[in-house]
């Protein structure tokens, strides 16, 4: 551990969270016990699309130990249906009505149909097996294109078609302006030297954290409903449960366990299962507990990406990008999922399609189609994994047509001056893309690589180098968050000083491994001039923390920490004012007092000082003889909202070797260049990058949700839904070229959320570069040796 009380921000402080986690004392959801808790097990649909003819629960009900069995028909008049406003975006879309359990028909393989509540989990599982459901199968709508075809079966049968959402991101709100805009873009295409037109597809894959979802609810007539829930946004869950179950919000307390085994987006929606569990806990007046199995998890959630993009790029022969046109199409699944509805990811993916390139003009439209699959649920690199794959590949294709280095085309077209408004109205607040890029190129040694590549090729070995880059959201400003999710973007923190000179921080968001306790403790210790071990952090309990929209969109380093720092500054001023009064320093202003090394010191005379504890204790415990208008006590809640939406930026390079006889490839190196602004904890930042890039690689190379022709999901275990292991992935070299963010008090940026997004493009670019002699373009994910081998074979056959 290094760092002084002056300099905790940026110091190598080992995480506070770790001790409990490495000694087995973490408290995850499954570790929380309530006396006599009952266990719930869901009966899930065997069919992708079918009418429910009957549900026979008699055998299940008769089993010893079974307390209750419920079906959709039992609850549909008891629980209000979704959507409810707090979990419905302010975007024009069609929102499918649904309850926690299927009513009338099932719309995907794995949809909850009924549930058993029993005293013992094994008995509950046996009883769920004993439920007999009689189905009448309906045609399976298996992909977005067939969902939109003429005569397609309509999944939500009261809808006119299978479109949940569609949007023109560039042409304005009305038909007329859209047509005019299209024509303008067409003119650029008509006169361009080079036009690339390509379909890019990205498969269904996602995050699958190591801890599955879970919930434990109990009801008490006087206190109301208390729920422990795996969640990234407990405050939103609380409001949504209040609306659905018609329980006053003040009678609901949601507690996200202090330790959560990863979230990455998948614990951010308002899901169906917790609604039912909360309802049953109230109805039975007994605690009810659910620990999702891995099979349920992989059937129901963690499925994202799944987009097709017909992308066109117009460029000049010198590599200058002139225009972009994209028609995106996403396979949403059934869309029955609070907050996201399966379409917000493709929405944001389209917003972020232009990436950091300076496009003069563009025409971008997206459609999102309902199918008989589970609804897309968010995964880190929210929506943009497919669009960034398409964009980064397209840039390399432009470079090839121009006979230029892909690296040069990128540098030439990077947004050179910030702030910048993208063609999809994404605001880039600050940073220096060129500096980040040049730092990467210094690491990459492109001429050196080209020389070794030529040598290797002479020996019949195929080396390649690939580049990619990404602008990522650093928090989500209200300006975007209110329309997108009907939720505020501000970060909130309560800082409470303890009479003994320690600090308690309360955060309404709910982390799952990102190290918030350490990061904010460093920021607060830095501010007060104390030690991070003297800062205790409470997260995710709606009973004690200020309102926050959740741990999403890299909000911690940007918004939450900034709120905590603002609260500290507020309290410091108060302490300083009272100290100036006590010392009769009529001239002194709060700025004359420094907080460092455990002391509050009058800077104009360093002999005048108090320990931090004395200064704090005075205000909290002895509120007499205060300056006029001043009150005792030291606690403050700050709500931080930056003036403008903020971003972080990165660029990546990787090198590979491909075996053309087998299609196998090996990643030889991976280096990143990052602008994360002022770093608070370097190890945590590096950990986020390592983890995010490996998730991106795992998505690109291994993971894929597969449905058969009848919609049976074939990949609901880790044997078939394969995650990268330690032996599958490289070590990543993380380098920095920071520009402090001018809109946050520390200059920090939020990081980590979007970071997997440029991984598939970077890797595929390297492989296409290696296979340059064969002219191979990778346009589909996942990237698998067998499909690569077939491409190589075809190219060799053709030549």
């Amino acid at each position: 551990m290094t760092g002084t009380s002056e300099g905790w921000v940026g110091s190598h402080f080992h995480r506070k969270e770790d001790h409990r986690l490495i000694t087995g004392k973490g408290r995850f959801l499954a570790d929380i016990a309530r006396p006599a808790a009952l266990h719930i097990v869901f009966k899930r649909s065997d069919h992708a699309h079918a009418t429910i003819e009957s549900v026979d629960v008699s055998a299940a009900k008769a089993m010893a130990g079974v307390v209750a069995v419920v079906t959709g028909d039992d609850i549909k008049d008891e629980i209000l249906p979704m959507p409810q406003p707090v979990v419905q975006p302010a975007l024009p879309a069609t929102y499918p009505k649904h309850w926690p359990l299927a009513v009338g028909k099932v719309k995907w393989h794995g949809e909850p149909v009924a549930a058993v509540i029993a005293r013992d989990p094994y008995v509950a599982a046996d009883a769920a097996e004993a439920i007999e459901v009689d189905y009448d199968p309906l045609p399976y709508v298996g992909d977005a294109e067939s969902a939109l075809a003429d005569g397609a079966t309509i999944v939500h049968e009261d809808w006119p078609d299978n479109i949940i959402f569609q949007m023109d991101f560039t042409g304005g709100a009305d038909e007329e302006s859209q047509r005019a805009h299209e024509a303008k873009v067409q003119e650029v295409f008509d006169s361009a030297d080079i036009v690339i037109k390509q379909r890019f597809t990205c498969h269904r894959c996602g995050v699958a954290p190591m801890e599955t979802r879970g919930a434990l609810f109990e009801w008490d007539e006087s206190d109301g409903l208390t729920g422990w829930l795996t969640t990234q946004r407990p405050h939103i869950d609380r409001l949504a449960l209040s609306d659905i179950l018609e329980i006053p919000a003040e009678k609901i307390r949601i507690i996200a366990p202090r330790d959560q085994g990863g979230g990455f987006g998948v614990k951010a929606p308002f899901y169906r299962e917790p609604m039912l569990i909360a309802y049953m806990a109230k109805k039975l007046g007994r605690p009810v507990r659910w620990i999702e199995t891995r099979q349920e998890h992989l059937m129901a959630v963690s499925q994202e990406r799944d987009q097709i993009h017909d992308l066109e790029v117009a460029a000049a022969s010198d590599g200058k990008l002139l225009a972009i046109r994209d028609r995106g199409l996403a396979d949403c699944g059934d869309g029955c999922e609070g907050v996201y509805w399966g379409f917000l990811m493709p929405f944001l993916g389209a917003v972020e399609l232009p990436n950091a390139y300076d496009w003069p003009i563009g025409d971008i439209k997206v459609k999102v189609a309902i199918t008989n699959k589970s609804a897309l649920s968010p995964a880190r690199a929210f929506g943009e994994f497919p669009t960034r794959f398409a964009m980064e590949r397209a840039i390399d294709m432009v470079a090839k047509r121009c006979g230029m280095e892909p690296a040069d085309v990128r540098r030439k077209n990077l947004v050179a001056t910030l702030p910048h408004m993208s063609i999809t109205n994404e605001y880039f607040d600050s940073g220096d893309f060129i500096k980040v890029w040049d730092n990467l190129m210094a690491e990459a040694d492109l001429p050196g690589f080209r020389a070794s590549q030529a040598e290797a090729r002479a020996e019949g070995r195929y080396l390649g180098i690939g580049f990619g880059l990404g602008v990522e959201l650093s928090g989500v400003a209200s300006e975007l968050f209110v329309p997108m999710e009907n939720q505020p973007g501000y970060g909130a923190a309560t800082v409470r000083l303890d009479p003994r000179g320690k600090v308690l921080v309360f955060e309404g968001d709910a982390p799952g491994g990102q190290g918030h306790e350490t990061t904010v403790a460093q920021a607060v210790a830095h501010s007060f001039g104390i030690h991070p071990n003297d800062v205790v952090v409470t997260t995710g309990d709606t009973g004690t923390t200020p309102f926050g929209s959740g741990t999403v969109g890299a909000r911690a380093g940007s918004y939450f920490v900034s709120a905590a720092v603002q609260a500290c500054e507020f309290l410091k001023e108060k302490i300083a004012r009272i100290m100036a009064h006590d010392l009769a320093l009529a001239e002194a202003s709060p700025a004359d007092f420094s907080f460092a090394d455990g002391f509050v010191t009058y800077q104009k005379d360093a002999n005048i000082k108090k320990t931090f504890r004395e200064a704090v204790e005075r205000v909290i415990m002895a509120p007499i003889n205060l300056p006029e208008g001043e009150s005792g006590g030291l606690e403050h809640t700050a709500f931080f909202e930056a003036e403008k939406p903020m971003i972080a930026f990165n660029a990546d390079v990787c090198t590979v070797e491909v075996d053309i006889e087998t299609g196998q490839f090996k990643i030889l190196s991976w280096t990143t260049s990052e602008d994360v602004g002022q770093i608070i904890n370097p190890q945590i930042v590096e950990g986020q990058m390592q983890g995010a890039i490996v998730q991106g690689l795992s998505n690109t190379m291994f993971e894929e949700f597969v449905y058969d022709e009848n919609g049976q999901q074939l990949t609901a275990d880790f044997e078939n839904y394969k995650l990268a292991t330690a032996a599958d992935v490289p070590d990543i070299k993380v380098t920095h070229a920071p520009t402090p963010c001018p809109y946050t008090p520390l200059g920090s940026r939020g990081i980590g959320e979007g970071r997997p997004s440029d991984v598939p493009g970077t890797l595929c670019n390297a492989i296409c570069d290696a296979l340059g002699p064969f002219g191979i373009e990778i346009t589909d994910l996942p990237l698998r040796p067998d499909s690569l081998w077939r491409k190589i074979q075809a190219a060799r056959g053709a030549s």
Partner: protein
């Protein structure tokens, strides 16, 4: 539900318990011994390694056994790694190298790598990575885990 009575020692403490024959060892450890450091990540597929404990010093996935099979054996769980309140070099290295984020996979990895280092006191990075294939980690990307195991190896040699 048929039951059986077993005697197992966990972290030096003897448990004599009557358990359903089908009770998995991981459930026994978590529910009967109330040692919740041992986790369940893949719900008994034996793939994720979060449930790894040591039986008579050998790392095993405790979801792949029923409790009855552990009758008469000595089990060490993550709670038994630190001796007298003192973290083991491997545990310390995990903190110092930031080898965990959410920490859900960590107990299983520690129990596996603790045995691995006894068998391989001077491993290469490649050997460490191959030693880790039975443990999935979704957060770290593994690089810092490799760093931590390497550090512990160096300190223990």
């Amino acid at each position: 539900m048929s039951t059986t009575t077993i005697t197992v020692t966990i972290n030096g403490e003897v448990f004599e318990e009557t358990v359903p024959v089908r009770m998995l060892l991981v459930d026994f450890i978590r529910e009967r011994a109330a040692l919740t450091g041992t986790h369940i990540g893949c719900t008994y597929e034996g793939v994720c390694g979060a449930c790894t404990v040591q039986i008579d010093g050998e790392a095993v996935k405790s979801c792949l056994m029923v409790a009855a099979q552990a009758d008469g054996h000595e089990i060490t769980t993550v709670e038994g790694l630190a001796q007298g309140g003192e973290l083991s070099p491997l545990q310390r290295a995990f903190n110092e190298q930031h080898a965990l984020q959410c920490g859900y996979c960590t107990p299983g990895i520690l129990m596996n790598m603790d045995e691995f280092l006894r068998e391989n006191p001077d491993p290469t990075d490649d050997e460490i990575r191959h030693g880790l294939v039975g443990n999935l980690c979704r957060c770290t990307g593994y690089a810092h885990i490799v760093d931590a195991v390497r550090q512990a190896a160096k300190e223990t040699r």
